[in-house]
Structures are given as structure tokens and as C-alpha cells.
């Protein structure tokens, strides 16, 4: 499946869990499940973790893996369905609480219309779901030039921006 980063650039393909990720995806030569990560590696295996990505479901508990995150190359967050917005918060928490600096990849069931939300919540790239095209995602990334909240992606934070003076002070 095609992978796009949040600038709309293609990044090869997402291969299966048992396959060698070639070329490496955001530094990861292999992507493993949460269970496999804990089984195969210790948080101290920093050299191996530097070439490893972990794929997390919405039910995986991040606190179980706290020691791994600073060393992992990449984290994939899988949307079980596009209506389940937990991965947006997971991305925020990964960046803030677990100091994860690597790439966060969105996978699973999500819509092009969520692309900007993904970018602004801290995702770095997404595996384009089969029923959509890369073009739809690229176009969605350009839908807004402004946002009201602080977030990633370069849009001005309107709550902190010096705004226009009111055009007219209306009553009441």
C-alpha cells in the first residue's frame, strides 16, 4: 500500500509484519506488533530498536511500552474504524509524554478528509487505504490554510495570533 507523508510525498510501501521493510520505512527495517516488540526486545536493545517500528492497535496500552518509545524508529497507529478517534490522542500523548521523536504512521481505516487532522495531531505519514487515492489525500492536505488550535503543520494558531481589529463594534 502506498505511503504518503504529510507533505504529500510518497514513501514506498508498507510491507507485512513478517517481511523485511525494504527500503526501510522511516528508518524501520521491520515492523512488529506490540506483543512481538515486548517478546523479542528489551527496552535496552537500543541498536535493534533504532531499526524497528511497532504497530499499535487502539487497545494497546502505551504505558506498557514506555521504555521502548525513545529508541524506536517508527510507530504505526492503526485506526480500527475512521469513527474511532483514539489514535489522534495517542499521537499527541506519544509526542508529549513518551518523547517519541520518530515517525508516526497512520494505518487502517481513515478518510482523506481526516488527513489534516492527522498531520496536526502529530502524525508524519499515512498508509493510503485501498479505496482511496494518493491524489485525494494530497488534495485534502491543502483544504485549510488556517486553524484555531495550536498544532503541527504550520497553520497559524488563531487563538494566539494577533487578529484584525473588529471592522465595526456592533451593539451588545
Amino acid at each position: 500500500m502506498i505511503i504518503l507523508d504529510t507533505k504529500g510525498q510518497a514513501h514506498g510501501e508498507r510491507r507485512g509484519f513478517s517481511e523485511q521493510q525494504e527500503p526501510p520505512l522511516f528508518g524501520a527495517t521491520a515492523i512488529v506488533s506490540a506483543a512481538a516488540l515486548k517478546e523479542r526486545f528489551a527496552p535496552t536493545d537500543t541498536d535493534s530498536l533504532a531499526h524497528t517500528g511497532v504497530s499499535l492497535t487502539v487497545d494497546d496500552d502505551l504505558s506498557d511500552m514506555a521504555g521502548y518509545f525513545p529508541h524506536l524508529a517508527m510507530v504505526e497507529l492503526v485506526f480500527s474504524q475512521f469513527k474511532d478517534g483514539r489514535p489522534f490522542s495517542t499521537a499527541v500523548v506519544l509526542r508529549r509524554d513518551f518523547e517519541f521523536k520518530g515517525a508516526i504512521l497512520a494505518a487502517g481505516d481513515f478518510l482523506p478528509d481526516q488527513a489534516l487532522f492527522l498531520l496536526r495531531a502529530g502524525f508524519s505519514a499515512f498508509v493510503v487505504p485501498e479505496q482511496f487515492t494518493a491524489k485525494q489525500f494530497k488534495s485534502a492536505l491543502l483544504a485549510y490554510s488556517v486553524a484555531y488550535q495550536p498544532g503541527l503543520g504550520g497553520a497559524p494558531d488563531l487563538l494566539k495570533t494577533l487578529r484584525d481589529p473588529p471592522t465595526a463594534v456592533a451593539a451588545g
Binding site: 475512521f82 469513527k83 478517534g85 487563538l159
Partner: protein, 551 residues
């Protein structure tokens, strides 16, 4: 009032363009209905029994006269000449074609209006006190904070796909006219002992299948931290709210299952992790917004009341209207006037395009161009000179909007029910109309005194039946519409959930049951005692005994 600057307008225009594209993709078959549904819902577009329904936000219940005229235009151009004001201060147009919706949103954007997040599992339009900026008992204008919350919550990247919908209400007065304790988060503006402005935070209120009055989880939150705290609370909810059962997905269930104390601790823990500066409310921005809501100087007129008394002596209908439909304004010589959308036998909350245009003109003439929408489905002209009340009343009377029943038995809140809504089990509107006709006599209504009747056509409780002094819930029992009666609900600062009185009634039976309950009250009340006070003093038993012995 808040007026959009170039940045607000840019975002709104981009939203309109995005939705135009989404509708195009849906019509072309590139989006399935399942994929389109959450996108259209985030633009307030429902598929109802007969047609698409578009719910347009009235931001925290405040409208300008030009915005009201735009509603009239939409009603005439795209609907059947009327609109329906809802129990969340919004307006719904019930006969919309999908292909027209991008044009409607474009038309609305011309006057800074939109349908963003009026549905879907996201943060909805903020509810506020409809008397904001005019009420004599107000500590601070809740619209300032509601606008800040509106901006923060609009197209929020993290909180647009929550477990369920999320409703926030703000009041700046002790008398709660926004039912804040029946919201997911209720904010009451307070000052601490040092005189600093802040909020009491209530979380986990709601109606529906499992009603709760929200517990207080933060007695004082400094005003500058409001967004940081909301961010923390929403993140806890987004991560831990249930998603396996739609009926258990609201934050009230999470708060109840964890306990308010534990939920509060979880939020505080998250709050502490957040960078205090990242979401600190910018004081300059608060002042910019506050300036736009500032009331211009109004010259106090302490003699106006005497003139009104004279006019009322000449006209009993005017007197009755002033008694029920006007409230004290913070400036002597001014009044807050409620425009009843509950004419006898009418559909609660409905207004025709002509009525909307006339109300807009009257707002320009008598109320500084401002209109409010109440969650009780009425309109308000918030800044009327007391001396102008007779003229306003006469003008409203000409368009059938001067019914002197605000807060009385025929000021019924009702959801659209089975007539429009696909979720409903029973009809609400015809029931409201029949009760209204039964108690049409204004003298009798004024004799009965303050009494809220609220009707929901299903357990989702859009008609707020849990919070009605008399609540009516429509249920489907083996294909038959039945109505359950509850007594004792309150949607004010003493919020309470009504208790079911006994077995349900059919449509004829429920009318009789309401009559019976009111007759029981009239028999038992002491001089000057309201329905609620009698119920509190005597309890439910006498009502139950009389009702089920006689029906």
C-alpha cells in the same frame, strides 16, 4: 456581537469549499453513505424521515438582525418557508435537498453563520445564557468565553471523532438559564475570594437514556486556563470513553463509572502535564472579543416604568405579556423581552420566514439589532426600552408572536418527534399542540403560574423531558405509541431529574393525565405557591394516587 475577521472568514470559506467537494463526491458515488455520513453530520446535515434536515448553529444563542434575515431567506429559497428553533439554540430546516446544501452554507457564510459541528461525535455549538450581556444578575458575559471555546473547538484535530457528541454550556449568572448541569461540561463563571475571574466546572450531565445532573469537579478554574482544562478533560474522555455501546458512550457514563472524584483526578493529572502557556487564553484576544460584545452606553430611565404602568392599565393583554414575557435588564429603563414561539396550537419553536423578517426589523427598531434564541425554543429581544414595550408588543401581536405565556403551561418544549425524526418512537408535536389547545385560556394559564412541560418523542430526550416540571416521554410499546409521565424535573440552578409517576398512557390518556396533575396541584397549593414548590412540599404520592385512581 462577534464579527468575523479575515482569518475567521478564511476558515469558514475553506469549510464551505470542502463540503461542496464532499457533496460532489457523494453524488458522484465516490463516497459511500457510510463514509459520507460522519462528514455531512459534522456539517449538520441529517437524513430524516422525509428529506435531508440541515441544522444551522446559532452561536451561543446570539443572532444579529441580518443573520435572522438570512434564515428567512434560506427558509424561503431552499425550504418550505419556515424554520424550527431547537432545544440547543440552533435552527433546523427540514426540507433540504442534498445538492443545495453547499449553496446554503455559502449563503450562511456571508453573514458569519455555519453548520459546523451541529451534529456528529464532536464538540457541538456552545450553549449560553440567552440573556447574556443584558441580565441584571450576570457576573460576566458568557458569550466572550463561549466564543473562545467556539474557536478552540472548531475543526479540532484531536477531538472531532469522540466516542459521542459533546455539549458545553456557559452561564455568567447564578440563575441558570442555560441548563449547564445537563451538559457534558457546564461552566459557571464565578469569582474567587481574591476577586479573580474563573469557572466552576461541572462534568457529566446529560439526559437521554441515563440522565445525570453533572457533578462539580473543579470549584475554581482560573479563566486563563479554561482551554487547557477543556483539553485535558476531552483527552481523558477521548481515550477512555466507551465506544462499544452507543448508549454508554457519553462522558456522563465515564464519569459515573469512575466516580466524579476519580475522573476529576484523571483530568487534573492530564492538566498538569499540559504546557501552561500552550493553551493559555491570550488576554488581548479576550479583550478583542469582549469589546465586540460590549453594550453601548444606554441612558438609564427611571421614569419609564411609570409610563408602562399607565399603558398596562389601558390594556390587560399588554399587562399579561409584560408580566410573563419581560425580565429585568441591567440598565434601568430597559427590559429583556421574550418572543414566544408557542402560539396556541402551534408547533413549538417554528417560525415562518415572514415572522423571522419581522422579528429582525423589530430587533433593529427596538433591540439594538440583537436577537437571542433560548433552549426553550423562544426568541428574545434583549435590549428593549421599557417605554417601547407597548409598541413592541403590538407589533409582535400582528404576527402572532405576542402570546403571553413565557414560562407558563403552554410554553412547551418539544422535540420534532415522529413527524420528522427517524429516531423517534412517538409523536411530540401533535401532543404539544393538543396540550396547548387544552390550556389555551390565558387567564387560566396565568392562574396556574410557572410550569414547564417538556415532551420527548424517544429516550434520546431532545425535548428535555427529564428536566420538565412535567415531563412526557413517548415510547413504542408493541407498535403502539405510549407516553410516560415524569414529575419534578428542573433545568435551572437546582437542576433535578423528574421521576416516573407510573404506567404510561395513550395519546388521549396523557392529555387527561396532565390535566389531572395540574388540577391536583391547584387543589393543594397554598397562596402564591408554584407547581414545583407544591410538588416539593407534598411529594409525588398525592399526584400518583389521584392520577391512577381517576384514569
Amino acid at each position: 456581537m462577534y464579527t468575523y475577521d479575515t482569518l475567521d472568514k478564511a476558515l469558514l470559506n475553506q469549510r464551505v469549499a470542502e463540503f461542496r467537494e464532499q457533496v460532489k463526491r457523494r453524488i458522484a458515488g465516490e463516497l459511500t453513505e457510510d463514509q459520507f455520513k460522519p462528514l455531512r453530520l459534522m456539517n449538520g446535515l441529517y437524513l430524516q424521515t422525509h428529506a435531508y434536515m440541515l441544522r444551522v448553529a446559532v452561536p451561543y444563542g446570539t443572532l444579529s438582525s441580518d443573520q435572522m434575515r438570512k434564515f428567512a431567506y434560506i427558509a424561503r429559497t431552499y425550504d418550505r418557508g419556515y424554520g424550527h428553533f431547537t432545544t440547543r439554540q440552533n435552527i433546523q430546516f427540514n426540507w433540504i435537498e442534498l445538492g443545495s446544501t453547499p449553496d446554503i452554507l455559502y449563503d450562511l457564510s456571508e453573514v458569519d453563520l455555519h453548520a459546523i459541528q451541529t451534529s456528529g461525535n464532536c464538540i457541538r455549538n456552545v450553549t449560553a445564557d440567552p440573556f447574556a450581556g443584558a441580565a441584571a444578575d450576570e457576573l460576566d458575559d458568557p458569550r466572550v468565553w463561549s466564543e473562545i471555546i467556539r474557536q478552540w473547538s472548531t475543526l479540532h484535530p484531536e477531538f472531532s471523532f469522540l466516542p459521542r457528541k459533546f455539549k458545553i454550556a456557559v452561564t455568567g449568572a447564578d440563575a441558570d438559564r442555560a441548563a449547564i448541569k445537563f451538559h457534558d461540561i457546564g461552566l459557571k463563571i464565578v469569582r474567587n475570594d481574591a476577586g479573580d475571574l474563573g469557572f466552576q466546572v461541572f462534568v457529566g450531565g446529560g439526559q437521554g437514556r441515563t440522565p445525570f445532573v453533572a457533578p462539580l469537579i473543579r470549584p475554581f478554574l482560573p479563566a486563563k486556563d479554561i482551554l487547557r482544562y477543556l483539553d485535558a478533560a476531552l483527552r481523558v474522555y477521548n481515550q477512555h470513553g466507551r465506544r462499544d455501546n452507543i448508549y454508554k458512550a457519553r462522558i456522563k457514563i465515564l464519569v459515573d463509572s469512575l466516580g466524579a472524584d476519580q475522573f476529576s483526578l484523571d483530568v487534573e493529572r492530564e492538566f498538569e502535564k499540559l504546557d501552561p502557556d500552550l493553551l493559555a487564553v491570550n488576554e488581548k484576544e479576550v479583550e478583542r472579543i469582549r469589546d465586540m460584545f460590549a453594550l453601548p452606553y444606554l441612558r438609564p430611565d427611571t421614569d419609564a416604568q411609570a409610563g408602562l404602568e399607565q399603558a398596562m392599565e389601558q390594556s390587560n393583554p399588554l399587562r399579561r405579556w409584560c408580566e410573563t414575557n419581560t425580565e429585568v435588564h441591567k440598565v434601568p429603563g430597559y427590559a429583556i423581552a421574550t418572543v414566544s414561539l408557542k402560539p396556541v396550537g402551534g408547533i413549538p419553536g417554528d417560525a415562518t420566514a415572514d415572522q423571522m423578517d419581522t422579528v429582525a426589523d423589530l430587533a433593529d427598531r427596538y433591540s439594538l439589532g440583537e436577537i437571542r434564541v433560548t433552549y426553550t425554543q423562544n426568541l428574545v429581544l434583549p435590549h428593549v426600552r421599557v417605554a417601547d414595550l407597548p409598541l413592541l408588543w403590538a407589533a409582535l401581536d400582528q404576527i402572532s408572536l405576542a402570546t403571553a405565556n413565557a414560562g407558563l403551561v403552554t410554553d412547551i418544549i418539544a422535540c420534532p418527534g415522529l413527524d420528522y425524526c427517524t429516531l423517534a418512537n412517538a409523536r411530540s408535536i401533535p401532543l404539544a399542540q393538543r396540550i396547548s389547545e387544552r390550556f389555551a385560556d390565558l387567564d387560566a394559564q396565568h392562574n396556574i403560574g410557572p410550569l414547564d412541560i417538556r415532551i420527548s418523542g424517544c429516550i434520546n430526550a431532545c425535548g428535555h423531558h427529564h428536566a420538565g416540571h412535567i415531563g412526557i416521554l413517548g415510547v413504542d410499546k408493541k407498535g403502539v405509541e405510549l407516553y410516560q409521565l415524569t414529575l419534578g424535573g428542573q433545568g435551572n440552578r437546582d437542576s433535578a431529574i423528574g421521576k416516573i409517576l407510573g404506567p404510561g398512557f395513550d395519546e388521549d390518556g396523557i392529555i387527561g393525565a396532565v390535566e389531572n396533575v395540574i388540577a391536583t396541584y391547584l387543589n393543594m397549593r397554598t397562596i402564591g405557591e408554584t407547581f414545583s414548590e407544591t410538588l416539593q412540599r407534598k411529594g409525588h404520592s398525592p399526584f400518583k394516587e389521584r392520577l391512577y385512581d381517576h384514569t
